[in-house]
Symmetry: C2
Subunit: 227 residues, 2 copies
DNA sequence: TACAATTATGAAATTTTTTTCATCATATTT
DNA sequence: AAATATGATGAAAAAAATTTCATAATTGTA
C-alpha cells in the first residue's frame, strides 16, 4: 500500500512513516505541498494524507489541485482545528476524510483503511506506469493515445494488472479471462498476449509482459513510478 | 435526488424532510431501522441518512446490514455524541460520513452533496427498476439472468439511463452513442433499439423504450421503485 | 379511409473479433 | 551442438458484431 504523507512538522511525519512501515505499508513523507504535487506526478498512491497547514501551498489547495488533475486516490486532511466549517470545506475540495490533531495512529489507520476499502470497491480505472486501463470504456490510455481493447484483450490485461509483478500460469489466465480450463489444443492465450503486447508497446517501454519458460508470464509494472 | 432519512425523533425528521423538499430533492422519512431496510429493498436512493440511536436496530447496525447486502449508496450517520471512536466505528461499518448533533441543515447538505458527487464520479453500475447496468462488465443484470450487451447496445442503454424519463432525439443518440451526426441514409439507431428492446424485455416488463413519433424515444424507468 | 411520413424488422452484407493452424523461434536439457 | 519442449507469429477460418437494405407496420394528417 503506497501512502503519501505531506506534513511539515518533522516529528509527526517521522512517527507516521515509522508506524506505517511497521505494518508493511510503503509510506513516503514530503515536507510541503509542492513536493506532494511532484510526488503524485511520479507515483501512484493508494491514499494521500495532507496536513492542512503547510507553508505556501496548504493541504486544502493541494487537494483541490489534485482533483482538478483528475487524481482519484482518496485524500485525508489533517488539521489542528476541529471547526465544522473546515470539514465542509475539505469535503467540497474533494477530500474523502478529515481528522483533527491530536489523533491516535490507530484512528488514522482506521480511516485510511475505510477510505481505501471504499475506493477499491468503486474504482473505475487501474493505473500502471504511465498508462491507465479504463474499466468503464475498456480502453487503454497511453500518454499520447487512447487505444480500444477487444473484450479478450481487456480481460487479459485486467487479469495481469490484478496480479502484476508475479508469475501467472496459462491455466490461471484461461480460468480468469476465458472462464475455462486451458486446452492444450489451443493457443488463444499466446495469440491474445501477442496482440496485447503490440497494443501496449511504445517507444519508451517495450516489454511489460515477460515470458517465464515453462511457468507462465509476469506482467511487469512499477507499482510506484508513473514516469 | 432520492434521499432516505431514518430518524426516530419526529421533529428532526420533519424538519429535514421539509428542507430537502424545498430544494427539490425527494426525501423519504422512516422512524426506525427496520423501516429503513424495508425502504431500501423497494427504492434506489442516492443517499441514505441514518440516525445512530434508534429503538431496536441502531443506525450503525442498519449501515452494516446494508453493506452486507451490497447496497452501494452513500450513507451518512447522525449522532448525538462526538466521540472519535464512534467515527472510526462508523467508517468501519461502511459509512461515508458522520455528523454530530446539533448540526445546521447547510452543513448536512454540504456533506450530502460531497458524498453524492464522489459516489457518482466512481460508481460502477446504474440501476433502473429491477435491473442494473454493470458499467465494468458491460452486462445487463436482470432479476434472473445476466445478459451480455454488445458495445453499441451498451452505449445506447447507458445514454438512455443518463436521460431516463425524458425525450431524446435520434440525433442526440447518434451523437452520444456513435459519436457522429445521424445520417438519414442509415437506420442503425432503429436496429440497435430493436435489439436492445429484445434484451430488455421480460414477462413482467415489456416496454422500457417508447417511441415518440417524429420526436425520438423515451426510456421509462421508475427512478424510485426497485420492485 | 387514403396518403405520406416515420419507425420496425428480418435478412443480407460488411466489418471486426476470436479462434485455429502451420510454421518459425527460443529456451532447456543432455 | 543436437534434440526436445515450449512459446511466438502471420495468416486463414470461424464466429460475432455492426451496418445496410428492402419491406412491413404504425402514426399522424388530410
Amino acid at each position: 500500500m503506497e501512502i503519501l504523507i505531506a506534513e511539515d512538522e518533522k516529528q509527526i511525519a517521522g512517527t507516521l512513516k515509522k508506524r506505517f512501515l511497521e505494518i508493511g505499508f510503503h509510506p513516503m513523507a514530503v515536507p510541503n505541498g509542492e513536493a506532494a504535487l511532484a510526488a503524485v506526478e511520479k507515483i501512484v498512491f493508494d491514499v494521500i494524507i495532507l496536513d492542512w497547514r503547510m507553508p505556501k501551498l496548504s493541504g486544502l489547495e493541494v487537494c483541490k489541485i489534485l482533483r482538478e488533475r483528475e487524481i482519484k486516490a482518496p485524500i485525508i486532511l489533517l488539521t489542528a482545528l476541529s471547526d465544522i466549517s473546515n470539514k465542509v470545506e475539505a469535503l467540497n475540495a474533494g477530500a474523502d476524510d478529515y481528522i483533527t490533531k491530536p489523533f491516535s495512529f490507530d484512528e488514522l489507520l482506521a480511516r485510511v483503511n475505510a477510505v481505501v476499502r471504499r475506493f477499491h470497491s468503486t474504482t473505475t480505472e487501474l493505473g500502471f506506469n504511465n498508462c491507465t486501463l479504463n474499466l468503464v470504456d475498456h480502453t487503454l490510455v497511453k500518454p499520447n493515445e487512447i487505444i480500444k481493447l477487444s473484450q479478450k484483450e481487456y480481460d487479459l490485461l485486467k487479469f495481469f494488472l490484478k496480479n502484476k509483478n508475479s508469475i501467472v500460469s496459462k491455466d490461471q489466465i484461461c480460468q480468469q479471462a476465458w472462464g475455462t480450463k486451458c486446452s492444450p489444443l489451443s493457443n488463444i492465450v499466446e495469440v491474445t498476449i501477442k496482440n496485447l503486447r503490440r497494443k501496449l508497446e511504445s517507444k519508451t517501454h517495450k516489454s511489460y509482459i515477460r515470458t517465464i519458460y515453462g511457468e507462465g508470464y509476469i506482467f511487469f509494472a512499477d507499482e510506484v513510478l508513473k514516469h
